[in-house]
Symmetry: C2
Subunit: 275 residues, 2 copies
């Protein structure tokens, strides 16, 4: 491959940009890689922007200024997001998914890489403007979705632990009211995980009363971190009043059908609004 | 965009193939998407294969037969893998990383999406031929790397829990000897997470004596699942004889420098061998 043609540049740029979402690559970076002039690369990017838009592969932006360049975000069109979430709802509404105590078996869906990546992309898409510095989740089941949201946003994931005996150095512990168990629990976060003044996006798997989410927002206050958003894969309709405000869910779990151990699950209302 | 040109097809195929690693896409799939003839698409794929190889973006294969098509794997060239792991070693050898008890603070590195994705790609690259049906990890810190390895392999992640009281339905519990605590612990795996006769790749974050890994292999025996590989991000040099065999680590932790709370960490030997 002596001469690198537009074909090759476009395919390579697509791979590089989409492998590092929300990261700005300078034209010089690609200039060095391809040995191409900036004017040529600008044309490449114009073509790529149209392609990405036409095939709804995400969003390609040119960022001007000193730290300028080009950046890819794996945003999902609202209609695609709704169709995808409807599919999840159908899957999770299947008989046998509701366990004793009203818990929903979601572990399989929450650890399929392609599904959690799409969920992460959809959630992250709502928070680019909020510019979070990291995504916070509470172990365990929310970690895959939270990691993928962090990837889409190009920021680290931070994991709060259920156990203060873990070996992550000096840690801040707080107590919170666990809605499901109805009792006081402890969560722990390593002091070195987060810096004062940062901005957090909270992502978790399931919310009933919102006790764990409330615990995470309290924890962020201890670290002097601003919470810019709070989202979950699944929220129960009841109680309607959660312990935290401004929760964005992908799905809402309505009442449980005891005869079939299944739940009525629907996409969250915001997914049905126009973009 | 009335006429879809080769440029556009190549960029779009790159995005679609690399977003779903190890999944075979038929030519008809792309034919429907682009309205292009199979002969044209075959030429596209030939070009793309060369591009992917030239820029070391991974590996593009044409799979023949009834279920044939084209598939992308995010393999990492051995030399790139070594350079990347050397960078991780330098980072993790920094003063202050060793905590009381000889534990190494790795939580930050283990939850940076770009770092765990590359680790996952490197590890997965060694197991395509083994054709695992899923990746198994034990909560919590190994989940991000294990998820990314699962993504690269195009298979689900399965998470064993430390706590048998979690709400995932009927579960198998086993006891194992935890090397770090030197005591008997319990791990739990939902019965519906795994099917008899499947093949598992075990991925974990840290191995000292190998007690947890031994527990996971015992667990797989209970499910009549074959373990096709066992890998960890970091293994300690001591004890040299682990409780399991055939462990593939990315890094090896040598002795600890008590004066600086730092450890000597080097890339695993296999990364320095020719490919």
């Amino acid at each position: 491959m002596d001469r690198i043609r537009r074909n090759e540049r476009l395919a390579t740029m697509t791979r590089i940009l989409s492998a590092s979402p929300n990261r700005i690559f300078t034209l010089s970076h690609f200039g060095d890689l391809f040995g191409a002039a900036k004017s040529t690369l600008s044309e490449d990017i114009d073509i790529l922007r149209d392609v990405v838009r036409y095939f709804q592969l995400g969003q390609l932006d040119t960022v001007t200024g000193a730290a300028g360049g080009v950046r890819f975000r794996p945003t999902v069109a609202r209609r695609d997001a709704l169709t995808f979430v409807q599919g999840l709802c159908a899957r999770l509404s299947a008989p046998g998914r509701v366990l004793p105590g009203g818990f929903l078996y979601m572990a399989d869906v929450l650890s399929m890489p392609d599904l959690v990546e799409k969920m992460g992309d959809i959630l992250a898409g709502q928070y680019y403007a909020a510019e979070p510095d990291f995504v916070l989740t509470m172990e365990t089941k929310g970690i895959p979705v939270a990691l993928m949201a962090a990837k889409a946003l190009g920021v680290p994931l931070v994991i709060a632990r259920r156990d203060s005996k873990v070996y992550e150095g000096p840690a801040v512990n707080i107590n919170y009211l666990s809605g499901s168990a109805g009792r006081i629990e402890t969560m722990s976060l390593s002091r070195r995980a987060v810096r004062e003044g940062q901005r957090a996006l909270i992502v978790d798997d399931f919310m009933k009363a919102g006790g764990t989410a409330k615990g995470m927002t309290d924890m962020m206050r201890e670290f002097a971190v601003t919470v810019v958003g709070l989202c979950v894969v699944m929220a129960t309709r009841e109680p309607e009043k959660k312990r935290v405000e401004g929760v964005r869910a992908l799905m809402v779990m309505e009442d449980v059908d005891d005869a079939h151990d299944s739940a009525h699950i629907r996409p969250a209302a915001w997914l049905e609004e126009a973009e």
